[in-house]
């Protein structure tokens, strides 16, 4: 692998031990994928480290007193300690949680990370088409590739840190135009009405597609030209739950998919699948793992909501009350929460008995890790990510009802899962 003078100095330890370790990791990854050289990256996104001491130790060994060299944002924390009481976190756990969260926040501040604590930093930090970046967190990476046309491989926690402190990444995979073309065509069946798709439909669609993709990039053909970035956001992680394809195209919608020919790089698709009503319904069924209709938590904002989504939820809740047995959690980032407050959405939602949290991962974070302490056994959501990840990781202790946003809200009001 070719390294320029600066990269060699980094690798040989002339820029300090931490940069040396980071460059060593990046070179090893580059070797694994036959990268010819390194390239400069202009932005990185980190994952907020999990609560175990083992992982924090690894994080500390990599970061030490290093500073980020490029603008770097960070994923949500597992809890928002400022809202611990409303979340219902037991007093007995507070001291320990405070210890592990505050050490992480301090470490990020010291590194110079932009403390976004969101899984959708694209609302805050903008990218341009073709920009080379180093991102971890499947939603962040895939949205950047697919919707924004920026270029990032699906980085791990460690390589994202290495790129943040060196400003480099190996030039392989999705950084190369030749690796970004579609390989598999996913046609939307004529018996579906994509104009009326809810966020949940987009998630179920990508979850279903992921099962046939392996490492091949799909081209979704027949989705609404009016679909929004928020719709695309719900497709990202579900696609990777059974595949390792960190990119997708939507014909006529995403920047690298103007025509079928351009999207497939002039080649024929290797495979072609049709997703119709039957397939979409089967994806919804697979994603519903709950047994009883009683629900403990309705969790929205996985990935974090934008201002329109919060407005839609507020509209559905206006003048209503969430059932006393049910918690309603909505995740977003702090700037959006402030905006939603200003627009009266937060008051509407919180008067109805819901909670809007910033800075934390409500679904795969709190709902999963604290399910026992909070008595959460059944969760309802419009997020195929949450529905796909939580029941397996909770080893059957938590079941999920997966459905459209309005069904989730109606169920929160009734206290039971159902459509009416």
């Amino acid at each position: 692998m070719y390294l320029n003078r600066e990269e060699k100095r980094m690798l040989e330890g002339e820029c300090g031990e931490l940069i040396q370790k980071s460059m060593d990791l990046l070179v090893k990854v580059g070797e694994a994928y036959d990268a010819e050289r390194m390239i400069e990256v202009t932005y990185a996104h980190l994952i907020a480290w999990e609560l175990t001491d083992i992982l924090f130790e690894l994080f500390s060994q990599m970061t030490g007193n290093a500073k980020v060299r490029i603008p770097t944002t960070v994923n949500p924390l597992l809890f928002n300690m400022g809202r611990a009481k409303e979340l219902g976190i037991p007093e007995s756990s507070m001291t320990e949680l405070e210890r592990i969260l505050s050490r992480l926040i301090k470490a990020h501040d010291k590194m110079g990370v932009i403390p976004t604590y969101t899984c959708h930093p694209h609302y805050i930090y903008e990218l341009r088409i073709g920009e080379h970046v180093a991102l971890t967190e499947s939603n962040v990476v895939m949205f950047a590739n697919a919707w924004l046309g920026a270029r990032s491989n699906i980085e791990g926690a460690a390589t994202a840190i290495a790129s943040a402190i060196t400003g480099k990444t190996p030039y392989y995979g999705l950084h190369l135009i030749g690796n970004r073309y579609g390989k598999v065509q996913i046609d939307i069946g004529r018996d579906l009405k994509p104009d009326q798709f809810d966020y949940a439909d987009y998630g179920a669609l990508a979850f279903w597609a992921g099962k046939s993709l392996k490492d091949r990039i799909p081209v979704y053909n027949g989705l609404s030209r009016k679909m929004t970035p928020a719709h695309a956001k719900y497709m990202c992680t579900p696609q990777i739950l059974h595949s390792c394809a960190a990119m997708f195209h939507i014909l006529g919608v995403t920047p690298e998919a103007p025509t079928l020919e351009a999207t497939f790089g002039g080649k024929k698709p290797e495979d072609r699948f049709i997703i119709g009503k039957k397939q979409l319904e089967s994806a919804f069924e697979t994603l519903c793992s709950a047994k009883g209709r009683e629900i403990d938590l309705v969790c929205l904002g996985c990935p974090h909501c934008n201002i329109q989504e919060i407005g839609e939820i507020a509209q559905l809740l206006r003048g209503k009350k969430v059932s006393r047995q049910v918690r309603l959690w909505i995740g977003t980032n702090e700037p959006t929460r402030i905006l939603a407050k200003r627009m009266g959405f937060i008051d509407t939602i919180e008067n109805a008995g819901g909670l809007v949290f910033a800075d934390m991962c409500a679904g795969t974070g709190a709902a999963l890790r604290m399910s026992e302490a909070l008595g959460i056994r059944t969760v309802a959501t419009n997020s195929a990510t949450l529905a796909g990840v939580v029941p397996i990781r909770a080893r059957g202790r938590v079941g999920v009802w997966f459905g459209k946003t309005r069904v989730c809200i109606a169920s929160a009001i009734r206290g039971k899962w159902g459509n009416n």
Partner: protein, 135 residues
């Protein structure tokens, strides 16, 4: 009977051991980090331990915290000896590198047809080679 398979280096090292073959894409977050037991219900290896095995699977998948799953197994001493797969999901590769576990990928055959659980494997990740001795 012995077969030599040629793949590509993902993470350096040389090791020999017994194959454990996953017919499905593999997520390390579906392995108990203390005991090394696969807990994902419905997985063909549900209830089995990855400890000291040479884990063979078509490709890695799942959210990006994959690498942590592998690293925590390493710290608990219940890690597989090596990973052999067809497509190398970057998060699996990164996990193998930071945990010092040899990993090889690629190959021009369907690994799941060539290697069975219980086969004896010699992995030379630096050269991208896997020698298979059928049980």
């Amino acid at each position: 009977m012995e077969i030599i398979l040629r793949g590509h280096l993902a993470s350096r090292g040389r090791v020999e051991g017994i194959a454990l073959v996953s017919s499905k894409p593999f997520e390390f977050r579906h392995v108990d980090t203390k005991r090394g037991i696969i807990f994902a219900s419905g997985h063909n290896l549900e209830g089995q331990s990855v400890k000291n095995k040479i884990l063979v699977f078509p490709y890695g998948c799942g959210p990006t915290t994959e690498e942590w799953g592998l690293y925590e197994l390493k710290k608990a001493g219940v890690v597989p000896k090596a990973i052999v797969c067809m497509s190398a999901y970057p998060c699996s590769t990164i996990g193998a590198i930071i945990s010092n576990i040899p990993m090889v990928y690629g190959f021009d055959c369907n690994l799941l047809e060539v290697i069975q659980t219980g086969d004896h494997l010699w992995v030379d990740a630096d050269k991208g080679l896997v020698r298979v001795s059928k049980r």
